[in-house]
Structure formats: C-alpha cells, structure tokens
C-alpha cells in the first residue's frame, strides 16, 4: 500500500468517525425553554386561528389591566382600540393593531420585560386567588404571536406613581432563553399620572359579531365588571363608551392555601419545593389549608412515624412523600374555606345587565359560596329578556359564560355551564325549550363561575370542566333565577290573556248574536238585549282574567319586596339607573 493510499484511507476513516459523531449528536436529548415550547404550541393558549388570535390578544391585555387595577384598588377605566392596518403577511389575514390603555398602577420598568416577554412569570401563579390571570402565559403568548407574524414585539408605555416620567419601550420574547428583551427604551412626557398602555401589531382577523366576536367579549366583560368604564373603538363603528354602574371596588379576597384533598401526588411534591428547608410538619400546616396540629396528631395516630414530621421537607424521599400523601388523603379534613371566592353580587349584576341593551325584565341570583370537588366555588346567574323584537323568537337564548369574570367564547357544548343550562326544564318557567337543548327566545342568560381553582378543559381557558357537583350547583342557580323570572313572564302572560279576552269579546260577541238573530229572524230589540247580555257574560270572564293578572302582579311585587328587604341597594340602583336613563 502506498503512502498516498494510506493517507486517503485514513482520511476516509476520519470522515466516517465524524459522520458517526455528528449523527450521535443529533440523537442527543436537549431541553428547550418554556418560551420555545409555547412559541411552537400557541394553539394551546388561544392562538389556534386568526380570529382567535385577535380575541385572545385583546382578552389577555384587558384581563391584565383589570387585574392590576383591582390589586391596587383603582376603579378601572380602559380604552381599547382595534384597527385594521392593511393586509397581513399570512394568507387571507389582516394586519391588526390592538391597543389597550388602563389607568392602573403602572409597571415598574424593571418588571416590564418579565410581564410581557417571559412565560410563567406571574405574580398570581398558584396563589389561589380569584384573579383573571393565573399562570403568566397569556400576554407573553400575545407578544410571541405578534413577533412571529409581524416581527414586532409588544409596544409598552407605563408609568407608576413613583415615576417622574413614563417609559416607552418595545418588549420581545427571547424564545431561546424565555426572557423578555427590551428595545427602544425611552422616557416620554405627557403620559397619564399612572397606568399602562400596550400595543400589539400582528396578523389576525377581526370578527365583531357572533358568540365568538369581539363585541360579545367586550359586552360580557362590562356585564361582570360593573365597576369598569370601557371606551372602545373597533372597525366600522364609532367610539363607544360604557360607563361604570358601580363605584365600589370588588374586594378580592385573600388567597387561600391549597387543600390537600384537591392535589395529586406530583403536585404535592412540587408544592414542597416552594418551601425549601422547613420541617414537614410546619410545611403541612403552612402550605395547606385545613391542616392543623390536630391533623398532625391524627396522622401519627394513624401510624405515621412522628420522626418523619420532624424531618426537613427537602430531605425526604419520594416513598416518604407517597406515604405522607396517602395518609393525608385518608384523613377526614374540613372542606376548604369558601372565603376566597369573589362574587359580583346581585345588586351589581342587576345594574350591569342593563348595559347589555334595553331589557323588559330580568332576574339575578347569587348563590352562597359552596364547595364543589373540594374547591370553593360561587355561581351567579343573570337572566334578562331583551326588548329587541327583531331577534328570531326560535333562536336559542344568548348564553354568556364567565369564569373568574372572564368571558368564555369557545367550545360551548362541553362547558359545565351549558350542560347545566340544558338540564333545566325551562318550560316550567315560561320559556320555550326544544328537548335537551338550550331554551329559545330573546333572552340573555349569563352565568358566572368564580373560584380560585377553576378546572378548565384546556390551557386556553375556553371551557369549564363539567364535573357533576359543579353542574348541579350551576343548575340550582339557574333554577332559582328561572323561578324569579317566571313571575315576570306569568304576569305578562296574564296581561296578554286579558287583552286577548277583551279582544275576543269585542270581535266575536256581535258576530255571534247577529248570526243567531239572522237564523231565527229575531228583531233588533232582541239582538241589542242579547248583545248586552253577552257583554256582561264575557265581561265576567274578563274580570276573572283581571283578577288572575292582579294575583300574578302581586306575586311579582312580593318577590321584589323580598329582594329589596334583603338587598336595599338593588332598588336604589334600579331607580337610579332609570332616572339617569
């Protein structure tokens, strides 16, 4: 073998080794950042279509604004502008600009990149509060979508009370490292004393009407946020302003620690990591609700080694965690507290429902907080009949669903709220209802479920999981509201009946008597006498109908009186609103 040939062989072998190395490298397991994961799976968080992308972006921005205002006790005033800026880069899309401005506390400039550009950076994650946002995914996903579709991040302007001037910047997501990157930072003059403005430019489509439309979201949001003043400008519409109807801030209850019976083993172990080096006993007492010294004693009585409770939580093994978890699951614990839920309240709902349009009558019900599936839940229902008679009387009622005061607009049929709605027999309350379907007619039925631990079916929070207990609780609220509403309907039916009876008397009385007189050739004098007699007869029927109407009316009045006694505010509000109108 010649030297040159040897060299050539050697080079070949080297090359083969290199290929093998590189192929090995391609099989290597790598980790990707949270941002990478979400940037590839934006459909999971509400960006599955262009229409949804627009709605989700708006929703996340408004939710954040409202949460921030509530956290700091500021009555929210939000300005929303949605514009179409021309054709988008994706086929059949528009370039959409959404701008949401609030009068909230503003964001510390150092936190701006975290808020808008970092996934899972949240002040609310797992805190067990009834806030709209929970995980810190949504707004960063909106930034990612804008970045992916139109190569521009979120444009943010913000100012806290402590700042002399407002800061303006563009935040982008560093997808590789799940980090927010600030660009074009500058200070600006003339901004409001405190507040935040965020602007997204992205590819999407604007759908205003229908259940999944932007207007439905905006009107739903105003319904469940009576304290919100909303200004919005959307394409093809003038600037609209919906004034707040309540000047009282909802008191967001303090967070509660999770209840051990609501957790799975993995969550239980992960929860321990938040506490670092503390004794197991202390961790159980501090980290969970309804775990007391008595509970620990019961654990020991049940066969648990007392020494385990003395160990540091970061030093125990998985087997020990499992033992502890199983033991706790088998203990009788008090149900979680219901103090952590937040209700809109019947009075505020009664006021707010009038903002949806002119209504004939309505009924509102706020159930007492209760426990469903070991989680505190509060359900509220508002039903209104719209004055608008152009609505097809055979079309299903308009259903507005809310979870923690955020409108739910997709995947209706699987939702606990819709399942509860169809399970109620609305016919007994005077509404038409095809079998096993939603009732029909010009009604709006709004159902709000509030809970620090709402179980959604997916990460984009579009549907509440339909557990039997929750469906039953919602159903009860609907039945109560239906009963209240039926008194209005009953009175209206009786009034219609009376009107119909009077019309019958006027129309058919003379025809009947004249016909009889023609057949027997009776003189006019007899005809007149018989007509008078018939009027008396049928008049008695009308009197009965009048009495029935009177009864229906008094029943309704009695119901209103009862409500007034319980909530003196409602009447004051109703009167006030009417006077204002």
């Amino acid at each position: 073998m010649t030297t040159s040939k040897k060299k050539a062989d050697q080079a070949e072998q080297e090359q083969a080794k290199e290929i093998a190395r590189s192929s090995k490298a391609s099989n290597k397991i790598t980790t990707s950042s949270t941002a990478e994961y979400f940037s590839k799976n934006l459909q999971q968080v509400g960006f599955s279509s262009q229409i949804k992308a627009t709605l989700t972006t708006l929703k996340e921005a408004v939710d954040n604004a409202l949460d921030a205002c509530e956290e700091h006790g500021i009555l929210p005033e939000v300005h929303v502008t949605i514009e179409k800026m021309g054709a988008g880069s994706i086929k059949n899309s528009d370039q959409v600009k959404i701008r949401v401005e609030d009068n909230g506390p503003g964001i510390d400039p150092d936190d701006v990149p975290k808020v808008f550009g970092e996934y899972l950076a949240s002040s609310k994650f797992g805190r067990g509060r009834c806030s709209r946002g929970q995980q810190g995914i949504g707004i960063s996903a909106a930034t990612t979508w804008a970045q992916l579709t139109s190569a521009s991040g979120a444009k943010v302007m913000t100012r806290t009370k402590a700042m002399r001037k407002a800061v303006s910047c563009v935040v982008e997501v560093d997808i590789k490292h799940n980090r927010g990157v600030v660009k074009n930072r500058e200070t600006i003059d003339g901004y409001r004393p405190h507040g935040t403005t965020v602007e997204f430019l992205f590819d999407g489509r604007v759908q205003l009407n229908g259940e999944a439309g932007l207007l439905s979201y905006l009107s739903g949001t105003t319904l469940v946020n009576p304290h919100l003043t909303l200004h919005y400008k959307v394409p093809d519409m003038e600037l609209q302003t919906i004034e707040r109807v309540s000047a009282s801030m909802p008191e967001v209850p303090e967070a509660t620690e999770p209840h051990p019976h609501t957790m799975k083993l993995g969550e239980f172990i992960a929860h321990s990591h938040l506490f670092g080096r503390v004794k197991v006993g202390a961790w159980l007492k501090r980290g969970f609700s309804r775990v007391t010294d008595g509970t620990l004693t019961d654990l020991i009585k049940g066969g648990m080694k007392a020494s385990l409770l003395e160990k540091s939580v970061d030093s125990i093994h998985e087997a020990e965690f499992k033992e502890l978890f199983t033991a706790i699951q088998n203990l009788q614990l008090l149900a979680p507290s219901t103090k952590s839920v937040l209700a809109i309240g019947e009075d505020a709902l009664a006021k707010s429902i009038r903002r949806l349009g002119a209504v004939d009558f309505f009924s509102v019900v706020t159930r007492k907080p209760t426990i469903c599936d070991f989680k505190p839940v509060q359900v509220e229902v508002a039903i209104a009949r719209l004055e608008d008679r152009s609505i097809d009387p055979d079309s299903p009622v308009q259903v507005l669903r809310f979870a923690n005061r955020v409108p739910l607009q997709f995947d209706k049929s699987a939702c606990a709220i819709v399942q509860a709605l169809t399970s109620v027999n609305w016919r007994s309350y005077g509404l038409a209802q095809p079998k096993e379907s939603l009732p029909v007619g010009p009604y709006i039925i709004a159902v709000s479920v509030v809970s620090p631990f709402i179980k959604f079916k997916n990460a984009s929070k579009e549907t509440i999981d339909a557990s039997d207990e929750l469906v039953e609780e919602i159903r009860r609220a609907l039945i109560q509201a239906g009963q209240k509403l039926s008194k209005h309907i009953r009175r209206e039916e009786k009034a219609n009946e009376l009107e119909e009876k009077i019309r019958h008397i006027e129309q058919f009385g003379p025809i009947l008597v004249q016909g009889i007189c023609r057949i027997i050739e009776a003189p006019d004098s007899r005809r007149l006498k018989a007509e008078e007699g018939l009027r008396k007869l049928l008049g008695r029927d009308a009197e009965v109908a009048e009495q029935e109407l009177e009864q229906a009316h008094s029943r309704l009045e009695a119901q209103k009186e009862k409500e007034r006694e319980r909530q003196p505010v409602v009447e004051a509000i109703e009167e006030g609103v009417l006077q204002e109108e």
């Binding site: 129309q507 025809i511 008597v513 016909g515 009889i516 018989a530 007699g533 018939l534 007869l537």
Partner: protein
C-alpha cells in the same frame, strides 16, 4: 242547551232547520238573560257505547260533552253559527256540498263581508271541525246537513236487483242492475232515498272486502250462476256501503255474508263497523249498520281445511302491531265483542291474538290454481253448509 232528542235518535233531515232554530232560540234567550248557555253533545267514544243484540248495533250511553259559552269558546260558537247559516241555506235550496267546498264557500262569505273577518278559517281542518261540532250539537250526521263525502266503495252487481231512486225534484229513476252489463251500481252516501225490489228471488247478498276480488268473481260469472247481490266493500266501509247494506237487509230480507281477510283489522274495523257501526258514529249507527251480516270467512278452520297460505303478523309493523293491541283492548272493552251473541267473532279475535297469524281472502285462489271458479265454489259451499259465524 240540552238536546230534546233521546240518545241515539237521529234527526230526520226535515227536522234539521227546526232543531237549529230551536237551538238558536235557546241561545238567544240565555244571552238576553245574561245567562251562560251550555251545549250538550253526545259523547261519541267507546266508553259511551252500549250494545244490545236485540238492537243489533252500538248505541250511545248517557255521557255528554258540555260546551259552555265563555271567552275561550265564543270564537268556536261564532264560527258554528256562521257555518250553520250556510248549511241551513243549502238545506233550504237543496244544494249539496263537500267539506272542501264548504270551506271555500265560507271563505267567499268572509270575502264579501269584511265584518266576518275574525271568523276566517286558516285551513280546511278548522272548517271541518266546525261542521263536526254542529253535527254533535244537533246530534245529526253531516249528510243530513247536505254535506257529502264522495261516494266510495259499495260497487254492486246483481242480475235480480232493481233500484228505484226518488230524485230531489220528485221524479223517480229506475235502475235495473241486470241491464248494466259489467258496470257496477254505485250506491250513494245517503241511500235512504232508494227503494229496492227483486225481479226474482234473491238467495243471498255477499259483501267482499276487496273490490278487486269482487270484480274477479263477477267477471268469472258468479252473479250469472247465483241469484245474489255482490258488493265490493273497498276496505273500511264508507257511509255509502254501510247505508246500502242496511237498506238491502231491511228492504229485501236476504241473508248477508261478509267475506274478507282473516286478521284483527278486518274483524274490528271492517266487519264490526258493517254489522254494528262504530264508536265514532254512535249517533248514526241506527241508519248505518246491518246487524244481520254474518262473517263467512276467512275462518281460522279454513286454513287447515283448504290448506290456505297464511303467514305471521309482523308485530314490528306499526299498523299491524296497533291492530293487535286494539284487538286485545276490544276483547276487554268493546261491548260488541263482549256480547255472548258475538262469541264466535270474539273467539276469532282471541285466536288471532294467540297465533299472531293472518290469512288473506285471496288465499282461496291457492286451492286449485287452475280453476278460476274455485273461490266461488268454496264460498257457495260455505253458505250452503252454514260454515260462517
């Protein structure tokens, strides 16, 4: 108002105007006194049906349906008086109409008198219901109000029968059925104006459920070989068939035989109606039933005797399933089937319920497929030997 007539007693047609005027007088009197008129009508349903073999047909019991004049019924009453006026005018002038025509006549009246607009019928079922309501009030049948359905069924063949019809203008028409060739005589829905005579003694009258089979028998010479009357019933007997059979029974005194399928539907809906009337027509069964009709077949024993092709009832079929259910009810509640004199037909019903089989009248053609007169031979043989119920 309470009817002055006894239960089951039908109004003669010349009485209708009188009864109507009486009714209107009472209505007017009550109204003049501001008293609420109440109208009573015979309840036409099985729970108000009585059967006595001496009478021979279903008669109404004492149950009445009361209609009180009030805000809810004033429209119905006004429409009834309006329609009654039209019908009385027809009786006066001798004009006749179908229900459909009356619907359009009422439309025309309303068109020419806008004051009557509230009475307008939106479709024919509404005007039909009004006519039925008038019949119930006056306890008459609609033919008495000159309202006729089209003449259906009852095509009759005979070489001996002569029909004399008195026309509304008093003229008479004589129809000799032997002169009609192969054409049948079509009886009217209200055959009471016909007089029957026989050119020669008639031995029997045979009513056949299937119109087609009746035609076949005639074409094969049945009426030539036998002194008889042969009628095709065409399914559930119409008023024409029922009244016509009654007329033959009353005027000619010949034995009558019914020949049809062996199934629950035929026994209850066709044979029973022909023989004893129906629950829905309690007030007119007296004129529309022929209690002397006998059930010639197909009898259950014929299946074995003649080796007839029968087959199981398909209970999954809605109509057949319903007929069986109705048969079970009939055995429990129908006074006709409960009467001892009708034990024979009741037993056939029981047999049908038990065996759940049926056999069609045309099955007689299987006995000797090459002899077209075989069904005729069997029928005549059965009559001769008294093999009927």
């Amino acid at each position: 108002m309470r009817s002055s007539r006894k239960a089951g007693e039908s109004a003669a047609s010349d009485q209708i105007p009188k009864l109507s005027k009486e009714l209107c007088h009472r209505l007017l009197q009550d109204l003049e006194r501001a008293r609420r008129p109440v109208l009573y009508a015979t309840k036409c349903s099985l729970d108000n049906a009585l059967y006595n073999h001496r009478v021979g047909y279903l008669t109404p019991g004492d149950k009445k349906v009361a209609t009180e004049l009030n805000v809810s019924s004033v429209k119905k009453m006004s429409r009834a008086i309006f329609m009654l006026e039209i019908l009385l005018r027809n009786i006066d002038t001798g004009a006749v109409n179908t229900k459909r025509e009356l619907y359009y006549i009422s439309k025309g009246e309303i068109k020419h008198n806008p004051l009557l607009k509230p009475l307008d019928f939106s479709d024919q079922p509404e005007s039909d219901a009004t006519i039925d309501f008038i019949c119930e009030m006056l306890e008459c049948y609609r033919e008495e109000l000159n309202c006729y359905a089209n003449d259906r069924g009852g095509q009759t063949y005979s070489q001996q029968l002569v029909v004399t019809e008195t026309l509304p203008d008093g003229d008479t028409a004589v129809i000799d059925l032997s002169k009609l060739g192969t054409s049948p005589f079509q009886p009217k829905n209200r055959p009471q104006s016909l007089k029957l005579t026989a050119r020669k003694k008639i031995d029997f009258c045979l009513i056949i459920e299937s119109e087609g089979t009746a035609n076949t028998l005639v074409a094969n010479g049945f009426t030539k070989r036998h002194n008889c009357i042969l009628i095709g019933a065409q399914g559930v007997p119409s008023n024409a068939v029922r009244g016509w059979t009654k007329l033959i029974q009353d005027q000619l005194s010949v034995p009558l035989y019914f020949f049809g399928d062996l199934d629950a539907y035929t026994l209850q809906n066709i044979y029973r109606t022909l023989k004893a009337g129906s629950a829905a027509s309690l007030i007119r069964n007296s004129d529309y039933s022929a209690p002397e009709v006998r059930f010639l077949g197909v009898l259950p024993e014929d299946i074995k005797k003649y080796d007839l092709n029968d087959y199981p009832v398909r209970e999954s079929d809605a109509q057949e399933g319903r007929a069986l259910k109705k048969a079970a009810d009939a055995l429990k509640n129908d006074p006709f089937f409960q009467d001892k004199r009708n034990k024979g037909v009741a037993q056939i019903l029981k047999w049908l319920l038990e065996h759940k089989r049926r056999c069609e009248q045309q099955a007689y053609f299987t006995v000797d497929p090459r002899d077209p007169t075989m069904p005729e031979k069997i029928i005549v043989d059965k009559i001769k030997r008294g093999n009927y119920v």
